[in-house]
Each structure stands twice: as C-alpha cells, then as structure tokens.
C-alpha cells in the first residue's frame, strides 16, 4: 500500500524548511495568539477611517437622493456600476483557487486558498453595496425578491439580466461563505485546543462548531469540499457571465456583444489574481509566512495572470475588429470615436486599460521577473488599475454619447460622494481583511499538513534518498540476475 504520492523532484517544495506538524501549527496560529503589531493598528485604523468616510457618503446619497452623484440622463451607470463589476471580478480568484484548482489537483493552492477565499467573500460584500445603493430608495430593495406581496402580487421580471444578477451574486456569496467556513472549522478547532485565555476558548469554541477531527467527519468534510468545488466551478463562471449579460443583453453599441461572457470571466480571474497577489505579498511579509507562501506560489499566480491577461488582450482586439467588421456604423463609432480615438474625452482610459492589462503583464513571460516579489507587487497594482479602467471604458464610453448628439454628456466625472463610496468599500474590504488576518488562520493549517508529506522540503529530500537507494537496489538485483 502506497500512501505517498510520487512527486517529481523538479517540483519546488510547497513548504520550505524542515517542518513538523506541530511547527506548522505554531507558525500559522501563533500570530493569532499574540498582540497585533503596530503596523496592524495603523492599517486597521486607516481602513476604519475610509469606512467611516464611505458610510457618510452613502448616508448623503440615501438621505438626499441619487442626485448626490454626477450621473446624468445619458450616463445612468457611472462609477457605481464600474466599481460593482470591478469588485465582483476581484472576487472570482478566490473561488477559482479553492474550487477549480482543487478539481485540477493543484496542490499549491493549499498555501493561498484560505486568504483568497476570504478575499472573495469580502470583495463580493463590497460589490453588493453598489447596485443596492444605486437603487436610490434602498429601503425598497427587497422588491427584487419574488415573494407573494400585496402589490398584486406583482412579480419581478425573470427575463431581466439584472434580476439574474441578484440571484447569481447572492448565490455566489452564500456558496463561497459555506465553502470557506466549512474549510475553516478544523483550523478553528486547532486554535480552540491551544487557547489559553477565556475569551479565546469561548470564541473559538463557538466558531469551531465542536469539531473533533473524527475520521468519519473528515470523510464527510472531503466529500463536502469536493462537491462544493464541483458546484462552485460552474458557479464562478456563471456569475461573471451573468454580470456580462447586464451589458450584453442590451442593444447599446459597445455592450451588445456575444464575446462578453468569456471575456468578462477571463478579466475577472485576471484582476482577482492580481488582488490576491497584492494581499498575500503583504500578508506573508507581515506574518512571516514566507515558508508557506513561497516564491513558487507567487510565480504560479503570475503565470495565471499572464495567461488571463493575454486572453483579455485577444478579447479587446477581436472586439475592436468585429465592431468594424460587423458593418454596424453605431458599433464602429462607439469603438473608433469613443474609445480608440486618443483625442476623444475618454481616450486616456482606453489606452490606460490597454497598457495596464495587455502590454505590461507580458513582462511576466520572463521567469526572473515572475519570481521578483517587488516587481510583482508593482505589476499587480497596475493590473488592478487597468481592470478598473476596463470596466469604466465599457460602461461610460458606451453611453456618454447617445444616438442624438443633443443628448451627449460632454464629460462625466464623479462627485466627491461617488468617490467616497468607492473609498468606503476599500475601507470595508480592508477592515474585514485585517480582522480576518488577526483572528483567523490565514493559511489552511490542516491542508498544509496534508500536503506536507508529499511536498514539504524535508520530505522531498527523504524521498530522493529512498529513490536513490531503490535504484541502487535494482542495479544489484539486475547484476545478480546476470543482466550485466
């Protein structure tokens, strides 16, 4: 019976250093048990400050109406929907790492999946704010749900892509949360069993649901994780597909495009990985987790970035080509004049997008640059900026010039409260992330222990000696059999 899976010695170890199981627990759990550092407090209070500004901006919008934003009759979707699509796209990497890479048996995911899934959940929470507050009368928000009501009953329109979005985003949030939390249970139990203080005993006791580590429970846990991964894989593809339907099912030039679903999904994964990178590069440094989130992990994610970035680049170019090839003058105008013309009001956004998403990630073909942490950090910030430009270009440049020049908006720029709302979601995101990094194990402890036997550095060294011994043994047996 071979319990050990053979792994090529060419593969880098997933866990550096000769770790024992206890050492793994110690490394990952001890930051939870110590007082937060100065850096944590600075980051956390900055996030809270942003959040407060955001709450005030939203309060003004709710209190005084959507006129607080600079939206016009032509530009009905501005920063808010741009930010919605941006955040929800960022959310896609977590599920991709945890679900799709689980199905593809990519063991390197174990180092990064926990933080990436947390990021997904927080990003979706941020994304959800935008369409909700864009409703204006947010207290009527529950009208979107089909429930027997006293207004007829009047039902929502199930043919509407916007309603599909309601179902897609809320399902996505729920499933991601369940997937993340059921995976967290064993690790929270680890924290509980190490707890010294009364508060920690109580908090982690409640949070771990009484996990014991029973073999039967592990069996069910693995079955659950596998099926949830199987469900989450088409789900993650469906969510951004449906978000793209918000645009693609309309008849606005620039939106009415069949390429949108795959193009949006690739872009979402692209921006999501960039955000995971930027968070993990900081997290591994601050919490000293370089042995678990190795350069190899960063390189693997950079490979995904260069792949999806190239897909996005192809999508941009084919979209441009087809707008001309379709022979539709409105379509071609939207691309030629509103986007690709650098002297048009939003030409800067189109070329900014092209540079950040298509040109600069190509540098990641170089192995040396892929493995450079500082360069990667700089690059992923650029990618996130570029992906924001993409959504802005798609939304604003398609609608700011209506069919009749008399209804053109000369230039749409956001009001301070629109910007404040966006900054506020950053505040929400980082507040939650800082709390997560302080109170939860940022790396899946049990999963790391699971791969330690096959991919840990000490094990790989051991495996090599076994192999060498075995081949030597084969040789002597061969000689004995008279083959030489």
């Amino acid at each position: 019976m071979s319990l050990l899976r053979y792994e090529s010695e060419l593969r880098e170890p997933l866990v550096d250093g000769a770790k024992s199981y206890h050492q793994v627990t110690e490394d990952i759990i001890s930051p939870i048990e110590s007082k937060p550092s100065r850096l944590w407090w600075i980051g956390f209070s900055t996030a809270i400050a942003l959040l407060i500004f955001g709450v005030y901006s939203v309060y003004r919008e709710v209190d005084l109406g959507i006129g607080q934003w600079n939206l016009t009759r032509t530009v009905g979707w501005g920063w808010d929907i741009t930010n919605f699509v941006w955040w929800i796209g960022i959310g896609h990497a977590g599920t991709l790492i945890s679900a799709i890479l689980l199905l593809f048996r990519q063991t390197w995911r174990t180092g990064v999946n926990r933080a990436a899934e947390a990021m997904t959940i927080f990003a979706v929470m941020c994304a959800g704010q935008f369409p909700v507050f864009h409703m204006g009368r947010v207290w009527m928000g529950f009208f979107v749900f089909p429930y027997p009501n006293s207004r007829g009953p009047l039902w929502p329109n199930f043919n509407s892509a916007l309603l599909w979005d309601v179902f897609a985003v809320s399902t996505y949030f729920t499933v991601s949360l369940l997937f993340w939390y059921t995976g967290l249970l064993p690790d929270l139990a680890t924290v509980r069993d190490r707890a010294r203080t009364k508060f920690r005993k109580m908090f982690y006791g409640l949070a771990s649901f009484g996990w014991t580590g029973s073999t039967k429970h592990w069996q069910r846990q693995e079955s659950l994780a596998l099926v949830l991964a199987g469900l989450a894989t088409p789900l993650v593809l469906s969510v951004h597909t449906i978000v793209s339907f918000d645009f693609a099912t309309s008849v606005i030039p620039g939106w009415h495009t069949t390429i949108f679903p795959p193009y949006f999904v690739a872009g979402a994964i692209f921006s999501g990985f960039a955000m995971v990178q930027s968070l993990l590069i900081i997290t591994r440094k601050v919490l000293h987790l370089e042995d678990y989130i190795t350069i190899g992990h960063i390189e693997a994610m950079n490979k995904v970035i260069v792949l999806t970035g190239s897909i996005v680049g192809c999508a941009y170019l084919s979209e441009l080509f087809v707008s001309w090839y379709s022979g539709n003058m409105y379509e071609w105008w939207a691309f030629r004049e509103n986007r690709a013309n650098i002297f048009s009001p939003y030409g800067w956004a189109y070329y900014g997008m092209m540079f950040c998403n298509v040109v600069s990630p190509q540098l990641f073909w170089s192995r040396r640059l892929r493995r450079n942490v500082t360069f990667t950090f700089f690059m992923v910030v650029l990618v996130n900026v570029g992906m924001w430009f993409e959504r802005f270009v798609i939304i604003v440049t398609s609608i700011y010039r209506d069919y009749l020049p008399s209804s053109w908006t000369i230039y749409y720029s956001p009001s301070i409260w629109e910007i404040g709302f966006y900054l506020g979601t950053f505040g929400l995101f980082f507040t939650l992330y800082f709390l997560f990094a302080k109170f939860f194990p940022v790396i899946a402890v049990a999963e790391i222990k699971h791969v330690l036997k096959t991919s840990g550095e000490s094990f790989k060294a051991e495996m090599e000696t076994i192999e060498r011994k075995e081949s030597a043994q084969f040789y002597t047996e061969d000689v004995a059999a008279g083959h030489h």
Partner: protein
C-alpha cells in the same frame, strides 16, 4: 450514557496504519481515530462505509431546479401572465440562469446543513475531546471498553503497536436535539477488507 475509553496517541501515519489493522484483527472496538488532517484510506482501514453526503447534494440540487422552473413557470404563465415585448410566457433560455443558481444554492446549503447535522456540529455543542494533540500533530486512537474488555490488555496491546500517552478516559456521549446516544451505524457488518 457514560462509557469508558482507552486512548492511545500515534505520532506517525506509518505506525498508525498497522496499529489500526492489528487492533481490528484482535477484535477490539475502535470508537474513532482523531486526526489533525484528512488521512486518506484511514476510513477504509477502519471499515467505515462511504458517505452518502454527495447523494443528498444531488437531491437538494434537483429540488432547487424544480423549485426554480416550477416557481417561475407558475408565476409567469399562471399567476400573472405579463406581456413583455411579446415574449413567450415560458421562455426556457431566459430561465436558465436563475434555475442554475437555485440548483447550486439549494445543493450547497442543503449539503452543508446535512453535514453539520450528521457530524452533530453547531455553535455551542460540547464534545469530549480525548486529546488536544488530535487537532495539532498526532493521531489519537480511541478504543471503547466493553463489559468484558480487559483494560490492561488493551493498553499493553496499544503500547506494543507503537502508541504513546496511553490512558483511560470516561466520557458521556453528547446529546443531539434530544437524541440520546443513538449509535451511528458507521461500521460495516460484514467482515472488513483490510488493504495490505
């Protein structure tokens, strides 16, 4: 119901597996083995049957599909037929996104709740933890003491099979929504096949 258990700790997988085999051959009843991470094939070695959680997931998913299609069909074709741009009252392609989402939603939520129910897990549940190392770095084997069991013999047997920290613990099996110690039939009745 108060039961007595002999608890032995193992530090290595390669010691644990032969020990499980020997203990079962000797006819002792293994209550459970607690591990810090999923040890593959341990369930087979213990003779546990496959979980049917995924089957439940399928049933929940199917429920979601039917609720979505039935609900939208009833609402748009029966309860309040609305003419939206002359489109049909049951446009199947337009219903696919919501049908898919509800299938996934019900399957995931249902499975997770079933998982918690079967594992008897929820916030505030008190369980007996045989060793704090079970969630850290060791594999904890728990053997249930029957009326006729010889405690010292079992302890010696465990020691011979590489266990450390061997001790006896008394534990009351927890309750779960008023269901006192309903023994889960996890073990197969036929002779177990032990991989060698």
């Amino acid at each position: 119901m108060i039961k007595r258990f002999v608890v032995g700790t193992f530090e290595e997988e390669k010691v644990l597996f032969p020990a499980v085999k020997n203990v079962r051959r000797a006819g002792y009843k293994i209550h459970d083995v607690y591990t810090p991470y999923p040890v593959h094939h341990l369930d087979k070695a213990l003779g546990l049957r496959e979980t049917s959680l995924h089957t439940m997931g399928f049933i929940y998913g199917l429920t979601g599909t039917l609720i979505a299609l039935g609900g939208m069909g009833w609402i748009f074709a029966v309860d309040w037929p609305l003419n939206i741009g002359g489109k049909p009252h049951f446009p199947l392609p337009a219903y696919i996104p919501i049908t898919f989402e509800l299938t996934v939603l019900l399957s995931a939520v249902g499975m997770t709740l079933t998982y918690c129910w079967l594992n008897q897990m929820m916030p505030g549940v008190k369980k007996h933890h045989f060793s704090p190392r079970a969630t850290d770095d060791a594999f904890v084997m728990v053997i249930e003491l029957m009326e006729k069991s010889n405690e010292d013999e079992i302890k010696a047997f465990l020691r011979d099979n590489g266990a450390i920290d061997i001790n006896t613990q008394v534990a009351e099996e927890g309750w779960w929504f008023g269901r006192y110690d309903q023994e889960q039939k996890l073990y197969r009745t036929e002779e177990p096949v032990i991989e060698s």
